[in-house]
């Protein structure tokens, strides 16, 4: 009986093996097919490593003594299942001093369906873990190739506060659309998420070491939106983004919430050798605890200019300011100078100098001894992509 079974198995196996081999042979015999399959798949990746040296405060690790504790790496894949449907996902790891721990996370994963796809307009929906479009840079903030300096502008993107997770993605859906005309194109995106747990890491960045006392902490119904309008073939770009989100600790007896509501105005102008970028945000942050509530208004902006010596070499200068309506707090000012050299399409080296006046945006957990008022930071980063 056993041998009959074996024979039966073997026959079935041989038959299906033939089918599979036939399929593979068919694929190989048809070279255009290989190209098509390759074109329906796209795999990209990036990795970057920084060295940081500072005076005043630590920024991402023990940078007063020199820190290698800032690294980003991601691998993403896209599959075009049919002309209108694309599946897209990314695994990502980020280490940034005590604000991020290098764990590998599913950064985003969504189905992206284009409902209308006309020659000069389109409308689509994404479903899954989707990216939040916010300001010019939030949706591609982790890749040195797509941001203006090693550290994101603190004024709009909260780089040093370790709140990336709260801004970056939502578990839910995104509607997006675009219109092209002879002289301009307009895009919009709105993402809406369901409630999602906040990681211990981010909560620690938000409220300090007492974070470990809480179990039930969630982002509640975040809504992000962005409307952008480009003209002169993308040389001029304007955008209006908004955020509306609540973060809540629901442990018994400690119903504490943090509401963020606000908007960002963004503008950019490119010339052959020069680019000018400015973003302004106003955020209303309302904290409610059983003991009372506290409402703070944050006004922040940055102005940035970039000069391209050659397509491979550019220098940027940026001034950032963050101010609150709290009477006793001085505005925080950041001055940034960044030199970027791209020896090839895949490699980028950046050398930046930062002068940060005020403690806003200085990672609290990197400085357990307390924060100084002034920080000078030199940062060097090597980035690679494929």
């Amino acid at each position: 009986m056993m041998s009959t079974l074996h024979n039966f198995n073997a026959t079935a196996f041989t038959r299906s093996a033939k089918l599979w081999l036939g399929a593979v042979a068919l694929t190989l015999s048809n070279s255009p097919t290989l190209a098509m399959q390759w074109q329906d798949w796209q795999v990209n990746g990036f990795a970057s490593q920084a060295f940081l040296k500072s005076s005043g405060n630590n920024f991402f690790g023990d940078s007063l003594d020199g820190s290698w504790d800032f690294m980003e790496a991601g691998i993403s894949a896209k599959w075009r299942a049919n002309p209108r449907l694309i599946f897209s996902g990314q695994l990502f790891s980020r280490d940034a001093g005590s604000t991020d721990n290098g764990d590998v996370n599913l950064d985003y994963l969504f189905a992206d369906y284009k409902i209308i796809d006309k020659v000069d307009s389109g409308l689509g929906v994404r479903l899954g873990r989707v990216k939040n479009r916010y300001g010019f840079y939030n949706d591609s903030r982790d890749v040195l190739f797509t941001r203006p300096s090693i550290l994101m502008p603190q004024a709009i993107y909260f780089e040093g506060n370790g709140l990336r997770e709260l801004f970056f993605s939502s578990d839910g859906f995104e509607f997006f659309g675009h219109w092209d005309s002879e002289t301009s194109f307009t895009e919009f995106s709105i993402s809406h998420g369901i409630d999602r747990d906040i990681s211990d890491e981010t909560l620690k960045n938000l409220i300090g070491p007492t974070a470990s006392l809480y179990d039930d902490v969630q982002t509640e119904r975040p809504i992000f939106s962005r409307l952008s309008h480009s003209f002169n073939g993308g040389n001029s770009r304007l955008a209006l983004s908004s955020i509306n989100s609540r973060y809540r600790i629901r442990d018994p007896g400690i119903d504490t919430s943090l509401d963020i509501e606000g908007y960002v105005l963004s503008g950019q102008q490119h010339y052959l050798n020069w680019s000018f970028t400015a973003e302004y945000s106003q955020l209303d942050v309302l904290i409610r605890t059983p003991l009372g509530s506290d409402d703070t208004l944050y006004n922040a902006f940055y102005l940035q200019t970039q000069y391209r010596f050659t397509p491979q070499l550019n220098i940027s200068a940026r001034y950032e300011q963050t101010d609150t309506d709290t009477a006793d707090a001085d505005p925080s000012d950041h001055y940034v100078l960044s030199l970027q050299w791209q020896p090839s399409q895949n490699w980028l080296v950046s050398a930046d100098i930062y002068r940060m006046e005020g403690a806003f945006g200085i990672p609290v957990l990197d400085n357990p001894q307390g924060q100084e008022d002034q920080t000078e930071l030199f940062a060097l980063m090597l980035a690679w992509r494929f």
């Binding site: 399929a23 694309i86 002879e182 194109f185 399409q345």
Partner: protein, 171 residues
């Protein structure tokens, strides 16, 4: 024992066949590319450039807005539902830079920024980069739905190639 083992085995065999069939169908849907005659078309678009298009439902009046939508990877499919595949030369090549400036009227670094945002923010697919003009031509010839460009050089190219202006097709 036979009574117990046979049905699962039978099921397994069925599953294997079904899977193999599905795989074949999937392959088939990718393999079967109608070898359309006269494709790709070469359509003069400016004094310097012509577009190479492997799609029979081409709208001859591709406007600047449509071209920008296509080359910025916002548009995904043609009218006949074929996926749009954009094929370009390396962004540092003089031809590509000239195409951006003269035809799309976009600075090459601005177009590159748009692609980089697409790549790393998970949006649509990004262009296929051909090493040189021959490879670009080869990819377009073999892939229905693809679009690219090439430098027109009327002095040298028109002499050697039969061009039928009526059909807009290079033979």
């Amino acid at each position: 024992m036979t009574g117990c083992s046979s049905p699962p085995l039978h099921h397994r065999q069925l599953w294997r066949r079904a899977l193999a069939c599905l795989f074949l169908c999937w392959l088939g849907s990718h393999c079967y590319a109608e070898p359309a005659l006269g494709l790709p078309q070469e359509v003069p678009i400016s004094a310097d450039f012509s577009l190479l298009i492997n799609n029979e439902t081409l709208d001859r009046e591709l406007s600047l807005a449509s071209l920008r939508s296509i080359f910025s990877m916002r548009k995904r499919s043609w009218d006949n539902n074929q996926p749009v595949t954009v094929v370009v030369l390396p962004s540092r090549s003089k031809t590509h830079q000239r195409f951006c400036k003269k035809v799309l009227k976009i600075y090459p670094f601005v177009l590159q920024e748009q692609w980089d945002r697409q790549i790393f923010s998970g949006g649509g697919l990004t262009p296929v980069i051909a090493k040189n003009e021959q490879e670009l031509m080869e990819i377009i010839r073999n892939n229905p739905g693809s679009i690219g460009y090439r430098l027109r050089d009327p002095q040298s190219r028109l002499k050697n190639t039969a061009y039928s202006p009526a059909q807009g097709i290079w033979q």
